[in-house]
Symmetry: C2
Subunit: 422 residues, 2 copies
Amino acid sequence: MIRFILPKKHFAHTLPKLRAATLRSSRYSQSSKPNRGFLEIQGINPGVVMSFSFAAATIIASASYYFFMDKPDPALIEYNKKLVQIDMGERRLTELDMNFPSFDEESTEPIKGRMEKFVLALQKSLVKNLEILDNTKPFFWDRWEREDSKGYGISCILQDSKIFEKAGVNVSIMQGPLSKQQLESMKSRKQSNTIKDNVDYDFWVAGISTVIHPVNPMAPTVHFNYRYFELTERDDPEQKVVTSWFGGGADLTPSYLFEEDCAHFHQTLKDSCDKHDQSFYPKFKKNCDEYFFIPHRNETRGIGGIFFDDLNDRPKKDLFHFIFDMGFSFHTAYLPLIAKRMNMSYTKENKEWQQIRRGRYVEFNLVNDRGTKFGLHTKGGRTESILMSLPLTARWEYKHSIPLNSSEQKLLDVLKTSREWA
Amino acid sequence: MIRFILPKKHFAHTLPKLRAATLRSSRYSQSSKPNRGFLEIQGINPGVVMSFSFAAATIIASASYYFFMDKPDPALIEYNKKLVQIDMGERRLTELDMNFPSFDEESTEPIKGRMEKFVLALQKSLVKNLEILDNTKPFFWDRWEREDSKGYGISCILQDSKIFEKAGVNVSIMQGPLSKQQLESMKSRKQSNTIKDNVDYDFWVAGISTVIHPVNPMAPTVHFNYRYFELTERDDPEQKVVTSWFGGGADLTPSYLFEEDCAHFHQTLKDSCDKHDQSFYPKFKKNCDEYFFIPHRNETRGIGGIFFDDLNDRPKKDLFHFIFDMGFSFHTAYLPLIAKRMNMSYTKENKEWQQIRRGRYVEFNLVNDRGTKFGLHTKGGRTESILMSLPLTARWEYKHSIPLNSSEQKLLDVLKTSREWA
């Protein structure tokens, strides 16, 4: 197993490419400004009403983060505090908080608990960085519980802000009886050999799911989610895990094509994958192109990324390490793109094209996405969280047409033919 | 069989109710202005490019209309020329063309041909009246053919005009082999006793489908469609019709509730139904409430109307008469509502609420509507026509909230509990 510490090795590896590919614009520079430690509990803007749900969500997230999180690598903190500083259009210096925790190789804690802390920590750091980029209003933290108390979630939402039309970072931890329908679906996939007939199973799942729709049509929409799933036999007094797996992925959906952005996004994902298994990226990239395809439009939703499910072909701890790295490297994959594009000028026509593309996003999510369909058809599913992925606004024109050889056509061409980006 | 001539009996019957319920506003008055005959070929606005598709569509529609349509009742023309004259906000007098053809009781022509002419004639008269109401730009006529030449359609679209955000009136006439999937679906319904195993069937279908999304949030969205379906055995040299049926319905989706509008819409549908069978309206109204339900929102799409399928329980000609009357009475059911509401003043908040409701419309159509799902999952389906029903714009806010006892809440209450309107 390759030891993979996010900062020193990861950034040392990706930064040159990153700089070569996208950071030449001088928007990014190193600095040694005083560092905000990653363990500090995130400050709440004065004047924001601390609703109960906000308070509960913050306490849970912070407590898990503070007391239980895998310990940070001091070298990582030192390195990252100098890493990303963005010279914005209006010359405001913005330092993102890239002080991620490192993976604890020595921990003997069950993956279940570590996964829960991981999704909470990733949510917290991502929300913080998106707030730094937006710099106008805080996320709304919405903690909710299932009516049967068999699970909870924290939905963090920022909508109609300066930079984000809608950004949602959603975490949920659920358990309960596996329905007949879910069981059949699992048996038809690769878990078939481990799942017996006439046995009742319970599931446990922890996941993080994020969709970000920026205001600026030049800035791409992004989505990622990572989840861990465990099955136990209901009547087993020891509650031994029968089978478990990881699933997830990350993909980019631009309205206008900047090839260097696509290359950077894919290269960052590939670098993180390669640290764990060089076969991952090519396989997961292909999955992604196949999954995010809209048959009735004969185009992909965006320019892809990675996508995988039922991952359980090696020790759990190694797979969790992979997920952990993929989660935190999302910052590096996406935040530079939004920082670079969020203040670009654009026309009314650019905005209209973005709205048309948003329409396609809605079509994919409501017609084709298995997760959304499953969620909406599940009794007791939380519709607000499931549909958090939909954009704030969308548009459908009958036979919308675009000029030949336009930037819009350039995007469509890429959505019709899969391309290698890394 | 009750003889049902649309104007004299129908209007004489509904007008008093209509006036009492909705026309008190003095927007409607009788007049004896010169009448534009319904046989006149619709004038094309000067300056509009006569594209090939426009020309082809117009020729087909007009030719069918002029040469083959059931002949009009002179009394109907006389009556209708005085019927609807709308005193608009800006005091412009607008006379709608309510000179519909009457149903020809004596015709011996097969229903297939009469149905095709009926949908073309209804499309033409509806498009004409919507253009009169809008008075800014003409519909775009888009004639298309299936690649295998086994059918054609005419889509009439008006989008981003003064009165209509998007209005689509779509006609299609198709034939072809019945797929295994369609066959199974039919056998599971009431056609089961007539459909044999190991026999290949061909279908023929003619239908009209309309969705109108007005700009003004006080004006309701409306949808209707009527279709006639025939099955023949592929190897039967006589091509005898094995089974046939009618389906369709009409339903109203307001963003703001005007009870008198809902009552008028339902009453008009009920009156037309009652002329044919008094059991129709209660049964079809219930179907409609059940069908246009969004489970994941626990609300109906709108305030309902009528909905039916597989109607073949009496002589074909009688059922066609029913469909014919339902189609033309749509004018009476809906046009007064749009005329009354299209110039009302509204706020930014009203418009935003309309956008949220548009979002729900998209959700129903993409997640729940059987027709849309079937169309999108059918190879060779024409996506542009299938998704014509989507609004031009829509909006999704996370946990959008509305004030207690507001007009918005009044609408939601009605969408949670079915109500009797007529």
